[in-house]
């Protein structure tokens, strides 16, 4: 077996860094949008209005039952065509990043909704009874009493889900979008050093995700004490 040759990495650094920025951009935006939409879904799911809770439950079940890579492909293939026919935007505009973002946000929201719902339900019913008995409205009870306690229960899970999303962003390779993984693959392919580049990319993913998990654990311990 030939020896490893890492020499193509330093020269490709600007390209790899640009890929990492794309990865981070997708992660951060999808987490933010996913949490907002996920919170709404969680509240809908717990609503007394049948139609809303039915919609939220179906949404969550649907997205949790299909592979992420398929959702990405749908959005990559269908959404641009749809936009084209709706607004007759020129086909040349690059919608890969935005369609990936939308796909991730919609997909992740299903997972966040369940985490947030569990967080809200982890606060005992007695707490809302006490808040209501003091004369607080439903929304004051939610805002001042339930959510602050629910959030501290669910932050570790939300962060962990964020770390998973960070890894899953590598799936955008299906649309040949140059995220960090895609960039590493392209460099390796160009220089005939695919094994080295993929090992390197794996090490970077591992280092980032492992230290992020450690950080979450650390916060969890501090919050628990």
């Amino acid at each position: 077996m030939a020896e490893f040759d890492w020499s193509s990495i330093p020269g490709a650094w600007p390209f790899l860094w640009a890929g990492m920025q794309t990865t981070l951009e997708i992660t951060v935006l999808a987490v933010a949008a996913g949490i907002v939409w996920g919170t709404l879904l969680a509240i809908m799911r717990m609503s007394d209005i049948r139609l809303l809770s039915w919609f939220a439950a179906s949404y969550v079940n649907l997205f949790r039952s299909i592979p992420l890579v398929m959702v990405l492909l749908w959005f990559f293939l269908i959404v641009p065509a749809l936009l084209e026919s709706l607004f007759s935007t020129p086909r040349t505009s690059d919608t890969r990043l935005s369609s990936a973002l939308v796909a991730f946000a919609l997909f992740e929201a299903a997972y966040y909704a369940e985490i947030i719902r569990a967080g809200i339900q982890s606060v005992s019913r007695g707490q809302s009874a006490a808040a209501l008995a003091l004369g607080m409205s439903q929304s004051q009870t939610m805002r001042l009493v339930i959510l602050p306690q629910a959030v501290s229960n669910m932050v570790p899970l939300l962060l962990t889900q964020g770390i998973i999303l960070f890894q899953d962003t590598s799936l955008v390779y299906v649309s040949s979008l140059a995220d960090f993984f895609g960039a590493a693959y392209k460099v390796g392919d160009r220089d005939g050093r695919l094994v080295e580049l993929l090992l390197f990319a794996g090490a970077v993913y591992f280092a980032i995700c492992f230290s992020a998990s450690m950080l979450v654990k650390h916060f969890q311990k501090r919050a628990g004490s």
Binding site: G126, A130, A133, M136, Q140, L144
Partner: protein, 242 residues
């Protein structure tokens, strides 16, 4: 002050309350007792609308609780409630627990609310604990804070739902002492409790419930002297043995 007329409640086919009626006058202290599952906690939670009921009427200070037009939040702001498990807000300091509803519900300024809270904390003997969090207090202390929190809203009456049954025995007295003081000052109180010593000392009337019905509703002397129903006699002989 509190008027309960022919109230019935069921979960599906299970009857929790059947045709309960009683009156609580201003300044009166009523103790509600009975075996577990007799509906006593449910009844007291109907008084401030935390539990809905299907039939009958409850009127508190002239306001009908079951009426869909009633603004329950407004009524509850002036009906204090103390729970079995204290239900202090664990993410807030003791003084914030006392202040939050005064600020958000009554619209008091923060200084006024904190000041009023401190005064009541002093009254229940806990002024040194104002900056602590509920988790740092003993059960008895938490329950006294919970009583102070309810009093901070200047309630017209107080509802106690088994206020001492989650406490270690050595902490029961400190909570009952606060309640006795309150009763002697003339607060209207409805207390779900098995503390017969408390009932003997300060109650005006004792209500005994069984299987969702008010079986006995009698002045204290009469109740402890000669309860009319056999079920109440049995119950008393069981809990008074100790």
């Amino acid at each position: 002050m509190i008027s309960i007329r022919n109230v019935s409640k069921h979960y599906g086919s299970f009857q929790v309350l059947s045709d309960c009626s009683t009156e609580v006058e201003k300044g009166e202290v009523i103790v509600v007792c009975g075996p577990s599952g007799s509906g006593k906690s449910t009844l007291i939670k109907c008084v401030n609308g935390l539990e809905p009921f299907q039939q009958g009427e409850i009127v508190v200070n002239g306001i009908s609780v079951g009426d869909p037009k009633t603004k329950l939040a407004k009524l509850r702001a002036h009906v204090g409630m103390v729970f079995q498990n204290f239900e202090l807000f664990p993410h807030m300091s003791v003084s914030d627990n006392l202040a939050i509803a005064q600020i958000k519900v009554l619209g008091r300024s923060r200084e006024e609310a904190i000041g009023r809270g401190l005064k009541l904390l002093d009254r229940v003997g806990l002024s040194a604990q104002a900056e602590k969090y509920p988790g740092q207090l003993s059960g008895g202390q938490q329950q006294r804070v919970a009583i102070a929190r309810a009093l901070a809203m200047d309630p017209i009456c107080m509802l106690f739902d088994e206020p001492t049954s989650a406490l270690d025995p050595e902490m029961v007295k400190e909570v009952l002492d606060v309640m006795v003081d309150l009763a002697q000052e003339g607060m209207t109180m409805m207390v779900v409790s098995h503390e017969m010593g408390f009932a003997r000392r300060v109650a005006h009337r004792v209500i005994f419930m069984d299987q969702g019905r008010i079986v006995e509703d009698a002045p204290k002397e009469e109740f402890f002297g000669q309860p009319r129903s056999e079920r109440a006699q049995q119950f008393l002989s069981k809990i008074l043995q100790h």
